[in-house]
């Protein structure tokens, strides 16, 4: 059985927990419940005939209480860098976080998710910064944990990337 560990990274309240819950349990709640520490969920995927057990590590977001604990990242096969489209600050912080994570895990696949796509009328991202990121050839997707938009696709894409590594 192939196993892949995938970590959810990003500042607090961008939707890391919601994305995992949507993907694993097909549920969504508007109520914000902060995550402390780490919760690990598992989902078995069938990707073009290959069965993969994906272990999703839903980490506590960086906030004023805690910086990212790097011990959680050990042996990760890939990660999501999650930002909240309605909070420009979460996008900037995601970029900083990426630099930090790279130093720990090295060159592993990642996908950047700009979440809360159902609220695009409230998005406030700096177009220039987004363009800059797109120019890096990163894999970037707009998702909504609320509607489910692109959620399945995002997890499949990243898992495929980890298989190709």
């Amino acid at each position: 059985m192939i196993k892949k560990k995938i970590c959810m990274l990003g500042v607090f309240a961008v939707g890391k927990t919601s994305l995992v819950q949507r993907f694993v349990k097909s549920i969504f709640s508007d109520k914000y419940l902060t995550t402390v520490g780490v919760k690990i969920d598992k989902k078995t995927l069938d990707l073009d005939g290959t069965t993969v057990d994906v272990m999703l590590w839903d980490l506590q977001g960086e906030d004023e209480f805690q910086e990212l604990q790097v011990s959680y990242l050990r042996g990760t096969s890939g990660y999501f860098l999650v930002a909240d489209g309605t909070r420009a600050f979460s996008f900037d912080r995601a970029l900083l976080l990426k630099e930090k994570v790279d130093k720990v895990v090295g060159d592993v696949p990642f996908v950047m998710l700009i979440n809360k796509a159902d609220l695009t009328d409230q998005w406030e991202l700096d177009e220039a910064k987004v363009e800059e990121v797109l120019a890096k050839n990163w894999s970037v997707m707009k998702t909504s944990a609320k509607t489910g938009e692109n959620v399945e696709k995002a997890f499949h894409t990243l898992t495929m990337m980890t298989l190709e590594q």
């Binding site: 914000y32 520490g37 780490v38 919760k39 042996g75």
Partner: protein
Amino acid sequence: MALNFEKRSVAFCFLDQDYQINRFGGSLETYGLRDLQKGQHAENVFPFLEGIFIGSRQSGLMRHVALESSVFADVHYIFDENGLWIVFLDATQEVERLTLMQQRGNEANLLKEKINQLNLQLEAANSRIENLQAELDSREKVDCEHTCEGK
């Protein structure tokens, strides 16, 4: 508090070089770890150790790992020449305390962010109004210059 082992339900498990369970003890059931058996491969029992088995044999600590429903553990992993010790300490109370504090703090910070955003929008609206006003003023002046000329 960290030294108050009794209250923190210590449990341990020793894995051999192949990461098979070799020895275990303590209050494992606190952590939902029942029916452990010698020779079992740890990977199938401890999903949260995924990643520890790969790469360097460096010891460490993973704090606040959610295990059995609503139980959290600090998981120490200590490599020695014969294998790997996994030591569990209950962190549920600490996590509950942190959750309360963090929930309030993060909610307050989200509000602060929202207020900042609204302020920026207000400022932008204000400066648009000021610009419009300035434009109107200058037009009025030009208009006046035209109409006042003949008098």
